[in-house]
């Protein structure tokens, strides 16, 4: 039996709230008074589409990941499934009790103690008898490992403790469908494992819908993935395939990455450097954007120097992933001929590839003493072969060594 059935669901939001407030209010009031009948909201010029004709179903025991960029419509869909938003078109059929781990600690009052807040949180579970309520609260306190602090005001809790309390309060509702939105990073590593164990326990008799940008969690936890792009499902199926597609779509959308202010701006001093050409390639100068792990990366650049800069000309290149500067190369540390004649013909550099899979951003920089001559943000290249069990941005390698015995 399908626990969730989403049929042709679309959701439109107004672009400008202020302009239409009176019109929308009038419509709502007329519908409440029964003067106007409720009908599906059609897309109008001032609407933007958050979700477009989404259809899928979820069975018992399935764990589905919703992946995609920010604004792709994942959280909106979760809210529609949870019944918080009405779909503008289409319908959602839910067979079972839903529990959402969307924002941990929603409704907590920080002046009240942990126990008082738990009493309130548990009271949101309908039809719970007093005896069951007390039992549940004790279970939650035990799970959250906050026994010592449970009678302290929540404002005195650390952020980790608040998250633990919120997660524990939400997870113990015995749901048939569990909706999880980016909340699996609660507490320390040990507590996170405990949470995942608990969700896995629930999963046996329920369905889990997980929204996460953490592809490692998605890979380890989910049985199926839906890839979202601008409000539509572009892929529904195998988790690994969905992750690969997601990573490709991320790398493809270069323009957006290049616009990222964290990577800085392009700059070119045309009075000293002209005819600049820079690209990633292989050893035969064929342009490349994707490299395998451990495969050498080649950079080709040529330029016409209008002034002989001598040894003061320095080439450098920082590398970024997820806006974090992870490594760099520089002619200050490795030898590189930057003379006028060599640069005119073109220089090919072989770079030792230490990167783990994923996209890498970079920037080509030529400086004359402390002055920038060129600062050019390059198209990102991709290191292929995603593996959820390999962590980090750099790849350490090893080889077996025979033991040496002391005489």
């Amino acid at each position: 039996m399908n626990l969730i059935e989403v049929n042709e669901v679309s959701k439109f939001f107004e672009k400008s709230e202020k302009k239409n407030v009176v019109r929308e209010l009038a419509k709502t009031v007329l519908r409440i008074l029964g003067i106007v009948k409720k009908k599906a909201i059609s897309k109008e010029a001032n609407h933007f589409t958050a979700l477009k004709e989404i259809s899928f179903s979820i069975k018992k025991g399935e764990a589905i990941a919703l992946i995609g960029r920010n604004g792709a419509g994942k959280s909106t869909l979760l809210k529609i499934i949870n019944g918080l938003y009405d779909p503008s078109e289409g319908s959602v059929k839910v067979n079972g009790k839903i529990q959402a781990l969307i924002e941990l600690g929603a409704g907590f009052h920080y002046d009240l103690t942990g126990r008082e807040n738990l009493l309130f949180a548990v009271s949101m579970i309908p039809n719970l008898k007093k005896k069951d309520r007390e039992f549940l609260i004790n279970e939650i306190i035990e799970f959250s490992e906050l026994n010592e602090f449970i009678d302290f005001p929540v404002k005195k809790y650390s952020s980790g403790m608040k998250a633990r309390l919120g997660f524990s309060a939400a997870i113990f509702a015995n749901p048939d469908i569990l909706l999880v939105d980016e909340v699996l990073s609660v507490g320390d590593f040990r507590f996170r494992q405990k949470c995942l164990r608990k969700i896995n326990e629930i999963r046996k008799d329920a369905a889990v819908v997980l929204v996460s940008h953490n592809l490692q969690t998605v890979k380890l936890f989910c049985t199926r993935a839906l890839l979202f792009d601008r409000g539509t499902i572009v892929f529904d199926g195998d988790v690994q395939k969905a992750i690969n597609l997601y990573r490709k779509s991320e790398a493809r959308d270069e323009k957006e990455i290049l616009k990222n202010p964290n990577l800085g701006e392009d700059f070119h001093n045309n009075e000293i450097v002209s005819d600049l050409e820079v690209f990633w390639c292989d050893e035969f100068l064929t342009p490349r954007k994707v490299f395998s792990k451990n495969e050498p990366i080649y950079l080709f650049f040529k330029a016409t120097l209008l002034v002989d800069c001598g040894k003061d000309l320095v080439f450098s290149m920082p590398f970024w992933r997820d806006n974090i500067n992870i490594s760099s190369i520089s002619s200050e540390y490795d030898s590189c001929d930057l003379s006028v004649s060599v640069l005119k013909k073109g220089q090919l550099l072989k770079i030792h590839n230490i990167f783990n899979s994923g996209p890498i951003d970079s920037c080509f920089i030529l400086t004359l003493k402390s002055e920038y001559l060129v600062r050019k943000i390059l198209e990102p290249f991709e290191i292929s072969g995603f593996d959820a069990r390999v962590h980090g941005v750099a790849l350490c390698s090893f080889k077996e060594e025979p033991k040496k015995e002391e005489n």
């Binding site: 209010l25 709502t28 008074l33 959402a100 008082e116 309908p126 039809n127």
Partner: protein, 261 residues
């Protein structure tokens, strides 16, 4: 039509209770006097009016003693205005929960009646004392005194529920209503008989809450002089039906309203 609303209220009865308790507890935390404020706040204006009467500043212009007139009037008015304002702003005040949890609006509305209920409970002993001192009621009519909370609370509930839709869209409403309630209390004979203040503005007596207050007040002053109980009972019954109808209608629009919070 009304069954789902009533079932919803039963399902969420413990939420209503703990929500009310949470509001009271959180408002008294970090205060030196704590819970005492819950009692002091509604008592102060009453004690002030009694004091003003005792020193002769307020003189009765009709047969009803001014202390009786003021205490009953102000209590009923504050139950009504507190219910209206509380219920109206309840969805917005609880948006942290409503936007994240699938809690229906109905229990949130009902929980908002908690504060006016406390105000009423605090003043009830004083009302009993004044009724014993000044009125000639039978013991049965005395039993009805605590129930006088309901017509005003239900009236406030129904108006508040309707206005809550507007308040989700236009937040100025609370300020407007606050001013309206404050001035209408003085202008429409709730605590000062209208003719003695603005004899030329008799239309102010047509404040329908004032008419209801007048009926209930006179009933508890002298049951023989009025047919207030029938008026109130009929009003009460119609009001309950109207409120249930309104809540069931609004529950269909909850998704739309949640987006506006």
């Amino acid at each position: 039509m009304f069954k789902p609303v009533i079932l919803e209220l039963l399902r969420y009865r413990s939420f209503i209770f703990y929500s009310f308790l949470k509001n009271i507890k959180s408002s008294s935390r970090n205060n030196i006097l704590g819970w005492v404020w819950v009692i002091i706040t509604p008592l102060i204006p009453i004690l002030l009016y009694i004091f003003l009467q005792e020193i002769g500043f307020l003189k009765s212009s009709d047969q009803m003693p001014r202390a009786f007139y003021v205490v009953f009037g102000i209590t009923f008015w504050e139950v009504f205005s507190g219910s209206t304002l509380g219920v109206m702003s309840a969805p917005v005040d609880n948006k942290g929960i409503l936007k994240k949890k699938k809690i229906p609006f109905t229990p949130i509305y009902i929980a908002a009646l908690g504060q006016p209920f406390v105000t009423f409970l605090v003043r009830l002993p004083l009302m009993f004392f004044l009724a014993l001192k000044y009125s000639s009621l039978s013991s049965f009519e005395f039993i009805l005194l605590p129930l006088s909370f309901f017509p005003f609370a239900i009236l406030g509930l129904s108006i508040g529920v309707f206005l809550s839709v507007f308040y989700c869209y236009i937040r100025d409403l609370k300020n407007v209503l606050n001013i309206f309630f404050k001035y209408m209390m003085f202008l429409s004979g709730v605590i000062i008989p209208v003719p003695s203040v603005f004899s030329q503005l008799k239309f102010l007596e047509f404040n329908f809450v004032y008419i209801l207050i007048e009926k209930v007040r006179y009933y508890f002053y002298s049951a023989e002089q009025t047919n207030g109980e029938f008026y109130v009972l009929a009003f009460f019954a119609v009001q309950i039906l109207l409120t249930l109808l309104l809540i069931s209608r609004i529950s269909r629009e909850e998704g739309q309203l949640r987006e506006r919070l």
